[in-house]
């Protein structure tokens, strides 16, 4: 994607290290603020969707006569960032925290001004980020702390070319920026599958017993408790957790039920696969039960043989190397987060994800119990709430296009910026639907984008639905409803395209059960275009069963 890198020091060399994305650089004393304030400046002409502000603390304070003036200067900078973010809501601003190294010798009685300046700025940036949803904090100070100033900065590069950071510092910063950019255009993993023995606790429950396994608040066993705390945090950020363990189920469940230091509870997992079947088989079954692709899974196991078995049998599953020294478990999990689950922000849907998948599993049980599919569907008491995509729906709409692989007719991926652009395009209508039932609310799970090609022909640009609610003919009922709305607007023909991918067979099944279509085109990739005459009839044959409410247009 296109991004701008603004800084008060020379960051050209950092920009050169950022691959895969186009970078516009504006740098130097005062230049970054002019660039922000001037709508005609290079940053905006370049069309940056993301703006990074990397500010060097020492340079920010150059020439300031005293503490009060320095603090006032920082406030002015913060205000100009806030103004730019307000005027350009479609652009994401990533603002760095600052690190201010002491630049003069200091006696022990003197006030530590650097700390006060850092705190003032870093608190200010957090406040702006809390107020403005398009402002994010990039913790440059933390990068410096983790690396150490002696390693992160280079005085030689500074005096030679105004380059503040060492090569190592530049690489870390460029990697951080790349990760943030990548997160906006590619899907993260969805599910973390965990082994139990020697992974969530030390030792083997079947041999060591409940009292013998290592898991405690302090001491050696605390490394596993801390590891579990971090895993719990991932769950709260929307990662689905599952257990895949070779064990006696009763032994393992006893640890969950009775061990006082288990942070992770049985309910935190959307799936517990505890038996003696081969793990590749268990993981393939888990993917099926959760209705997610194998390439959405990260598998953590201390046993190298199991890891190798998964890598060989299921190469799409990500299998990180387990640390040989388990005092490194927390750092290991942090790396897993950065590499596989990194996200800019956690949405409501993310927070409720495990619950949604658990409810799904219960629905599946009920389906097995119910006599027929129709009885099962009727018993669910499904409610569909359908409305136009509003401003507040844009992040979720973009997220749905990014993440939905299985029920997706065209698999067109849109960024938030592109969704906003579509909303502003005449003749384009975007619909979003949430689905609830007696087990709870699934959130907004279905998205449709319709483009008018002429006064009476419309094209279904996008029609997708989260796999959580698949198999319930919700898509049929929504399309049927959309057809009625389009007909009321004078549309007589609806074009529906199906673009096959490796994963979207569920979408193919849907288009194949539509009736009355005329084949317009079929190319050698297997993409098919139909046209349906909707003036009289609906392509949907399945009778509606759920309660469908339409939300008022915004």
């Amino acid at each position: 994607m296109r991004c701008a890198l603004l800084s008060n020091v020379n960051v050209e060399s950092v920009a050169r290290r950022i691959g895969r994305h186009q970078v516009h650089v504006a740098q130097g004393y005062g230049a970054w603020r002019q660039e922000l304030a001037d709508p005609g400046s290079g940053t905006w002409k370049f069309g940056a969707a993301a703006v990074f502000l990397v500010l060097d603390g020492a340079e920010l304070l150059r020439g300031q006569p005293g503490l009060d003036a320095a603090l006032a200067g920082l406030d002015e900078h913060l205000a100009s960032i806030e103004r730019a973010a307000r005027e350009l809501p479609q652009v994401r601003f990533f603002v760095s925290t600052i690190d201010v190294p002491a630049h003069t010798p200091r006696s022990l009685k003197e006030d530590h001004l650097q700390r006060r300046l850092e705190e003032h700025w870093n608190a200010g940036v957090s406040r702006v980020s809390a107020d403005r949803k398009n402002v994010y904090v990039v913790d440059l100070k933390a990068l410096v702390e983790e690396t150490g100033r002696a390693q992160f900065y280079s005085s030689k590069r500074w005096y030679l070319g105004g380059l503040r950071f060492s090569i190592a510092g530049e690489k870390l910063l460029a990697a951080e920026i790349e990760r943030i950019l990548d997160a906006q255009v590619s899907a993260r993993k969805k599910c973390l599958l965990l082994d139990l023995d020697n992974t969530l606790w030390g030792g083997v429950i079947g041999e060591d017993g409940l009292e013998g396994i290592q898991l405690s608040e302090t001491g050696e066993g605390a490394r596993y408790k801390d590891f579990q705390r971090r895993i719990q945090r991932l769950r709260q950020m929307g990662v689905i957790l599952g257990v895949v363990s070779k064990n006696n189920e009763a032994d393992a469940l006893e640890v969950f039920a009775s061990h006082q230091h288990m942070v992770l509870k049985k309910e935190d997992f959307a799936l517990l696969k505890i038996d003696w079947s081969p793990k590749p088989q268990s993981i393939a079954e888990a993917a099926q039960a959760l209705d997610i692709g194998l390439d959405s899974i990260v598998f953590v196991d201390d046993n190298p043989v199991e890891r190798e078995a998964i890598r060989t049998a299921l190469p799409e599953v990500a299998v990180p190397e387990f640390p040989a020294d388990t005092s490194e478990l927390c750092a290991f999990l942090d790396r897993i987060y950065q590499e596989h689950f990194f996200t800019l922000e956690t949405t409501e849907e993310d927070r409720g994800r495990t619950e949604a998948y658990l409810a799904n599993a219960r629905r599946a049980e009920e389906r097995t119990a119910a006599g027929s599919i129709d009885e099962f569907l009727a018993a669910l008491r499904t409610k569909i709430s359908l409305g136009r995509v509003g401003d507040e729906d844009v992040p979720r709409a973009a997220q749905l296009t990014q993440k939905t692989n299985q029920f997706n007719l065209t698999t067109r991926r849109y960024s938030e910026q592109q969704v906003r652009a579509l909303l502003a395009t005449p003749g384009v209508a975007m619909f979003i639907a949430s689905v609830s039932d007696k087990y709870g609310d699934n959130g907004k799970v279905l998205l449709g984008i319709v483009r008018k090609l002429s006064a009476d022909i419309a094209d279904l640009d996008t029609f997708l639905m989260s796999c959580r609610v698949m198999g319930r003919f919700i898509e049929d009922q929504v399309l049927d409803h959309l057809v009625r709305e389009l007909r009321a607007e004078g549309i007589r023909k609806l074009r529906v395209r199906f673009v096959p991918t490796r994963k979207n067979d569920p979408a193919r099944a849907f288009v194949e059960r539509l009736t009355g279509g005329q084949l317009l085109d079929k190319d050698d990739t297997g993409a098919i275009l139909w046209e349906f005459d909707i003036a009289q009839a609906s392509p949907v044959a399945k009778p509606p069963y759920a309660e469908l409410l339409t939300r008022g247009e915004s």
């Binding site: 050209e12 060399s13 050169r16 030689k156 590069r157 070319g161 090569i167």
Partner: protein, 74 residues
């Protein structure tokens, strides 16, 4: 040591090592601009664990000119 030096310079500039010789000078490689020059110096310092004093940097006109600073390491 000379091969390692050429490999480090090549990596710093993002060009294949086969395009460089000890005689290669900044003017011979497009990526070896003033910014590239600073990166080459930093990478040579880091790669060999040595320091090239800032006073001596103006005297470096080719890859060969790094050799006296490498202290027989590598």
């Amino acid at each position: 040591m000379e091969q390692k030096l050429i490999a480090i310079v090549a990596a710093a500039l993002g060009v294949p090592a086969s395009t460089l010789r000890l005689e290669t000078a900044p003017g011979d490689v497009e990526a070896w601009d003033s910014l590239g020059h600073i990166n080459v110096i930093s990478e040579v310092e880091a790669g060999f664990g040595v320091r090239i004093p800032i006073e001596k940097i103006a005297e470096i006109h080719s890859i060969r000119d790094f050799l006296p600073y490498l202290g027989g390491q590598g």
